[in-house]
Structures are given as C-alpha cells and as structure tokens.
Amino acid sequence: MINQLSWKVGGQQGEGIESTGEIFAIALNRLGYYLYGYRHFSSRIKGGHTNNKIRVSTTQVRSISDDLDILVAFDQETIDVNYKELHENGVIMADAKFEPKKPEDTKATLYAVPFTEIATELGTSLMKNMVAIGATSAVLDLDIQVFEEVVNEIFGKKGQQVVEKNMEAIKSGFEYMKKQLGSEATMQLEKADGNKRLFMIGNDAIAMGALAGGCRFMAAYPITPASEIMEYLIKRLPEVGGTVIQTEDEIAAATMAIGANYGGVRALTASAGPGLSLKMEAIGLSGITETPLVIVDTQRGGPSTGLPTKQEQSDLMAMIYGTHGEIPKIVMAPSTVQEAFYDTAEAFNLAEEYQCPVIVLSDLQLSLGKQTVEPLDFSKVEIRRGKLQTGELPELEAKGYFKRYEVTEDGVSPRTIPGTKNGIHHVTGVEHEETGKPSESAANRRAQMDKRFRKISNVQFNTPVHKNAPHEEADLLIVGFNSTRGAIEEAMGRLEQDGIKVNHAHVRLIHPFPVDEMLPLVQSAKKIAVIENNATGQLANILKMNVGQHEKIEKILKYDGNPFLPHEIHSKCKELF
C-alpha cells in the first residue's frame, strides 16, 4: 500500500491529454484524495509535446513530486522526455500503435498497451484516453466504477450510448492491463477519507474571490496565464447583474477599470507581465487620483514575450515600484488556492479603504496548477468600503467643490461617486489641492504627497506572513512567496530529518513589507535562504532593503521555466551547511 502516487500522461497538444488527466483527477478528488496538478504546455494549440502530471496523496500536497510512478505515453517523445523522472519500480504504459521503445538507462517497466486499437474497435480512436484511464486503474487496483459519475457528467449530454461506450473503453483498458500484470504487484493506494473537497486552479479561486468580494465589472484583454479569470467572470457576472468587457488592449482594460471604480462599482482587471507593463501609466493614475483599483498579475516567464507558458516570479520589483513617480500601493501574494480566494476578495476592501491600487500577485503554477482545496468559508468574506460617502451630504458653498482630497490624519479622504448630490469634485492626474483642482504650490505638493503615503503607513492585513516557525533559534529560515510554498514545506521536513532546525516564512503581503513580522524571524536564524523563480533574487533584495542582515541572506534561484521540486530546495539548503 502506498499513500501517494505520481502519474503523468503525455502526448501531442490537441490530442485530449488534458481531459485524460482531468477525468482521472476529478474521480480521485471525489474519493477524498488530495491532488496537485502541473501542466507542461507550449504556446501553440495543436502539436508539440504536452503533459499533465498529477500527484495523488492521502494528505494535503502543494507541490509537484520529485519523481514519477506511472507514465502514460501516447508517443515516443513522451517517453524520451519524461522517463528520467520514473523511479526503478515505475511503470510506463505506452500506446502499442507507435511501437514504443524503452530507453536503456531505466529500470522502469514498459507495457505496450493497444490504447488506439481497443478504442477504434469500440467505435472511435478518440476514446484511447479512456482506455488509458482503465489501464491506470488496473495498476492502481482501483474500482473503475469511480469513473462512472464523471463520465456521465462529461458525456451525458451526448446521450447514454456515448457514456456506455466510454465506460466500456475504461473497462477494456482495465481488463487488458490486468492480464498483462498477472501476478505482478500493483501500486495499491491507501483508502482516502472520502471527504468532499474542491478541485480548482488558482485563477478559478481568484475570480470567485472577486465575485464574493463584490466585484461586478471586469475589463480585460486575453493573455496566458490570466485569461481563465476573465472567462470565469464572463460566465458568472451576468448572474449578479454585472459584466465583463474584453477591451481593445491592456491600457484600455486598466483605464476602463479605473473609470468603473471611480463610477462606484468594484471593478477588476487581470493580466500577466506584458499586460502589466502596458498598465503602468494607469496604475500611476489610480495612485495619484486615489481611485481604488484591483489588478491581478499572474506572473509568467519574462521579459517581453519571454516564456509565456512557463513558471517565473520575476515581476516583483515591477509590481512594487512600477509606474513613474511615486504612489502608495499594496501588493499581496497569496501562496495557496484558498488564500487566492480570500486575498482577492479582501483586495477589494483594501482598495476602497486605502483608495489606492492593490495588486494581487500570482504566478503561473498557482494560477494554473489544479489542486484539491478545503471547502471555502464564505462567512469569512467581508465587504468594507472605507470612507465612501453614502448618506446625505451638507450643501456645498456656491460653486464650491467637495473636498475629495482633504488632508486627514490617516491620509484617507472622504470619497463620493458621480451622481452624489453635493459631492461634486474634480479628479485629475495632475497634482491637485483638496478639492481636486490642479495646483503646483510647493506646500500643497508636500501636503498631498505626505497624505497619500500616510495611508499605507499602517496597512491592516490579516496574515502578512504565513509562518511555520517551530524553533525559537533556527539554523535556517526559508523565505518564499506564491506557489513555492508546498515545495518548501516538503524540503523543510527533510531538512529537519537531517537534523537542521528550520523555520519557514512565506510572505503574503509583499508591499508595504511586513518588517515587524519578518525581523524577529530573520534575527533568530543563523542563515536565511530565499527561494524564488527568478534570476536576480528580487525577494531576497527586498528583504535586505527592509531588514538588513545582508551577510546571512542566501539566494536559491531557479529561472528555467519550471517550478521548484522539493529535492532541489532540500539539496541547495543542505549545501549551506
């Protein structure tokens, strides 16, 4: 019996590789297993190698596994590219159609299974994916009835006959493989707890968080890996009276979202690196006009078009400092799908409370990696609108304006939206005085700049740092952000087994940097390893800027487009001792 398993299916893009993984994963999720998926894909629609790696476990996992138990291959390339991940008891099941060849330097066992042939005999070669699921079930000694519900949901619309054919394909694959295995040991999974959990990608959670957080309008432009956020809201916003506009470009998306927020609706825009570069001037406009704005940045490989379908965390500095000039800004970085939901909902509160742009930073692996998520607690979602004026306002003096930019103690000024009687004021990206009229006075400039920065001098955020710090004095503090959390957690466990005392801090509020939370952790550690998917160590540099202690801070970087594996973090951290 095993308590976790790593399974990968690969082939040419456009062959249904994704749906094969999807059906397999949904069924196992419903049995109560925890899943974590990773899609390897390219920036093209048809052709090119693609694979879907799924980890199955009886406990929560938030990282890709180091190795592989089962590889399902629809072409030789899949074997050649991926076999090195297989451990020595690993199994390759490859379509007999292409006469698969096993590389010499692997001890894994290869089975040529007639996926296409069986499927064709049953009616259509399209069902070869189902045959592969059946064959996998044989290796896992899994009751194939678990797939019936999912197959029904997916193919039910096409009629009972299609459902039956697909189930037959699974059954045939199962029976064929059972015969091949004979008395060979199978990889039997321990029974899962049967609890109902969600199975979703980070982008689903971001979009759902926006909806729950009161977002009723989105303006966006399609881009990998952010488009799912827009697609989700296009489906759901009309149910609550709202809508999405697919704009002509990223600049329009950002400025339209600013216009909508100024108009009084909670509005969102979401993009990735290239889009964020185009939104920079608009972000400055939101900052100086103190118009709330929530922007999602799903980081991918940069710069320019870079590695558009690959993992990277290199937008950090751009998100903190981007736009010319200086503005108050909040940058948050959820590290799990659950956090992506709650943080995005909260971003809309912070945007209105602090009247500034709020960037929800994600990365490709968090945004697209499909994983098991504990049920979301809707009662935790609050709606807070800060100093938005909703009651009746005192009459203005003749020709007078409402003091939209009143200099206040906390820096936040009362805000009215168009349509509000006695709330008329001017808004401009030009420096302005308290009613919004342009002003070049030096004293006013100081007063307004100071007021704007006062707003974020004390940002209240629930959990600015996710801490797992069992040691008062640690040999090592590991610091990360976004999707590296799971790999760090696993590496931490192994380092502890090696006798190294490790604390872990995952930064969730990147800006303003949570110095008070981080400083004691840094001070009480002998060494600090900052784990990030970029080439220059941006988070490490931010840490140095904010807490000093440069001599203790080490950078562990990966920028080849792939997420960290637990063993990589483990071995790199060990090298520090």
């Binding site: 959990r197 009309p238 470009d249 216009g259 009084g264 006009t289 008329i424 004021h425």
Partner: protein, 288 residues
Amino acid sequence: MATFKDFRNNVKPNWCPGCGDFSVQAAMQRAAANVGLEPEQLAVVSGIGCSGRISGYINSYGFHGIHGRSLPIAQGVKMANRDLTVIASGGDGDGFAIGMGHTIHAIRRNIDVTYIVMDNQIYGLTKGQTSPRSAAGFKTKSTPAGSIEQAISPMEMALTAGATFVAQSFSTDLKDLTALIEAGIKHKGFSLINVFSPCVTYNKVNTYDWFKENLTKLKDIEGYDSSSREMAMQTLMKHDGLVTGLIYQNTERPSYQELVNGYSETPLSQADLKLDQEYFDKLTAEFV
C-alpha cells in the same frame, strides 16, 4: 431645474485668449442644461492637452485622466452607472493619435457616451508640433519642411468603424454646436462630435477665417439625408471632410448596454455587494 450657469464653476481656464475651446465649453454647459441635467448627473472625462483641461472648467463630476485614454475611462464610468450622462472630450492628438485605438473601438462598441473632440490640427500644449489632423505640407516645429504624412479623416473613419452618430461643427457656431451636443447626449449609443476649434497661437493656417471660407453646412445641401451612410460618405469625400452638422445617425442599432447579457437595470454602483450563501454554494459546487 439647473440652467447653464449652474454648470459654470469658479475656475478660470488657462486657454489662450481667442481659443476655440471656450465656445466648446459654453456649448457643453448649455447642452447639459437644455437636456435637463443637474450638475451631479453629468460626468465629464477628458484627456491630456490644452482641451483636456475642460473637465475642470465645468461644474459637474470631472475626471482628467491620462493622455489618449479619456474614452476607456468614460466607458468604465458609464458601465458603472448607466443613469449618468457621460461626456468624453479632448483634442485631436488625444483622440486620433495616442488614443486612436480606443476611438475606433469605442465607436464599434457603441456604449452610450458622447465624445467631443476639439480639433485644432496641431499640438498646442507642447508648443506646436504636427498632429494626425495636420494637412500634408503643414509646417510645424516637428515638420520644419512640411508634414509628409497624410491627415486622418475622422468622420469617414467613424463611418467605416460602424458609428451610430457622427457629427461635426465649428466652435463659433455656438447654437448649432449646442444642438448637436444635445442630440449626441440623447442618442442611445456612442456619439462622436468633431469640433473645429482653432488654435490662435500655433496654427496660422487653419484659422477662423480659413474655416469660414472652407466649411459647408450640411443643412445648406439640398436633400441631405443623415440616415444614409452612403450619402454621408459621398458628401464627406466630395467636401474633403469640411462639412458641419449631423453627418450620420443610426437610431435602430441598440446601444451596448441594451445588448449586454444580464446587465442590471439599476446602476452597478448601487448593487448589493454581498452574495447570498445559497448562490455561493452553487459557485463552489461546480468544483466538487
């Protein structure tokens, strides 16, 4: 009921004496009063440049954004509050150079916003460079030997982009201009009004006298039918775009807001932001 004086504020425009933009401002204030608006029911969104300052000179909600982006901002405001009257405005550089992409897409999207362009065929605030509306051969600081690029024909461009309301005016024709802005506000959908608004400081070619000599009023053309896109296009080509009046209006095509699936009848700015638990449960059920 508000009068045009209620749309005046106490800010003195920083335009040069004699600038055409003063009349455009007056026409906007009159039109707003004539259609029965109260100042708080109007939002004026403007771009950057001399004319972009106009949102600060009208007593209404005003948003002075960034160069070339008045239209996406204005469309966002309108989507947030469909009960508001939203006017976008700016210069020919703002709308036909840096913001041209937004202009074309705002036209084809047809959200109910009125866009008033103050067209002076030159960049004024940066002290006299060529604009996409400058004629070939036009000498400026950036084209000392004369512009070698072709000028844009915004009215023809609007017609080909699927505009439902296209008009052109001259800043001195205050009465006609006011009437066109009123018609634009009342039009259900996007309305584009290009106004020849002479720059007295940097444009010594396209002067008040030049326009008086060269403009033809559409109402003086016998049988002109503003519901005919074909006639509109032919007339514009015949007169090299130098016509004033309502060029084209399509009253049959619904505005964007009328076509949006599920779009709330009450302004989104008044929406109840809290979902109910039952609906939230439906959302999560999709992922089980």
